[in-house]
Symmetry: C2
Subunit: 242 residues, 2 copies
């Protein structure tokens, strides 16, 4: 029987990829994914077949993998970070009833909220929300509603996809909404290119974040009312000292 592994390969460097993920890639006949991620993996598996598509080819990529696994091959579909969080595990499982011959295994990975959080300190040390600012597949009104409710619940918030070439202003707009619900002094942070060349991070307040450029390699963290800057890092306490 064929098998499709949907694999979260972590933030970028081999040191962040679990042995379970690595074993799945090693076992696969073919490694499929978005070009940026397969190019990061190619040096680790120089003898493998790779199959890459551009960013908007998600469903075609899933069908390609399911079809080959349904025909008896072992295929790994790779996702940056985790396989489930804005990843390919969802669409693969949604399409899977059309490909009954394919066994599917989801292999989790360290998503950007955790990897970027570790660089910044502990921004997600208490209850938190993860929200994508991409309106490619989600209504802008729903994104804005979630931002407001996350702020009213005093969650720490992690934002994915804060900007792209087509929508450079999404982070500014999100911050303006949050500033209606939270003080401008709220401790925030950015992490960029985590585990890759050019890795960087920065702690700032919400007012400053509003005017800070971000790109698709940036993960954004908004503190709760309890979040503090400690020694230059961002910490959301769980309450052990309170």
């Amino acid at each position: 029987m064929g098998k499709l592994y949907v694999v979260g390969v972590g933030p970028g460097s081999p040191a962040g990829m679990t042995p379970a993920a690595r074993a799945a890639l090693k076992e696969a006949d073919c490694i499929c994914g978005y070009t940026v991620y397969t190019e990061l993996l190619r040096p680790l598996f120089p003898d493998k077949e790779f199959y890459s598509t551009g960013m908007t080819g998600e469903l075609a990529r899933c069908r390609h993998c399911l079809s080959r696994a349904g025909a008896g091959e072992r295929v790994a579909l790779v996702c940056s970070g985790d396989a489930g969080v804005y990843g390919m595990a969802g669409p693969v499982l949604e399409l899977s009833p059309e490909y009954p011959g394919a066994e599917i295994e989801i292999v989790p990975g360290v998503t950007a909220a955790l990897a970027g959080g570790a660089l910044l300190g502990a921004p997600l040390g208490h209850d938190f929300c993860v929200i994508s600012l991409s309106d490619r597949l989600t209504e802008q009104a729903l994104i804005e509603k979630r931002l407001r409710l996350a702020a009213r619940g005093d969650f720490a918030i992690c934002l994915y996809n804060p900007a792209s070439k087509q929508r450079p202003d999404h982070l500014r707009r999100a911050c303006e909404i949050l500033l209606e619900e939270k003080p401008g002094e709220t401790v925030c942070g950015l992490a960029r290119c985590v585990g890759r060349e050019g890795e960087s991070w920065r702690v700032m307040d919400l007012k400053t974040l509003r005017d800070t450029p971000a790109d698709m390699f940036t993960t954004v963290f908004i503190g709760s009312s309890q979040t503090r800057a400690v020694g230059g890092r961002m910490v959301t306490p769980r309450g052990y000292r309170g």
Copy 2:
């Protein structure tokens, strides 16, 4: 200079621990942590010094590690799952100004939301909240407020610490609140002992979840309005097909 690694060791099995985490444990002179986690690691590092404390000894454990790192030792403080998500990275950084000689590095790991999610399918495939039901360090009123707002924002929800010996009924109470905001047919799931002996998972609806026992080894997933059961698994679509 001494160094303190705060290490997320993943859900339980060595296959889920990143090479970065393993390297930090290997480099450390001493591995510290809650007894349950250090006992899982002892077989992997039979020659290391281990230092364990019980569940409520968090601050003492952090101080012990900071003090030794401040005196020049290399120490690893281990957390189940991720180092930041309800982990020790927060209290270590909060206490760190008292121990200026200790360099601190946070090593992220696969938290239960991701590991349990992969077993169930893709419950966190779109925007989600993570909420702990433990009222040991958080007011019950704030927990309930967050549950309601997460439901009103139609987030997928992941619940940590759904029960303990002292509070067996927290999951029932949480479900009753969610049932005031969401239909009883909402797709939900449980994962238990992920990556360890006795691993299990189950998909069910919110009404059934209310009457289902959970323990401290269980992670709970509540779907959004878009979450579906597909082939017995739990999938929250991102919207690629919508």
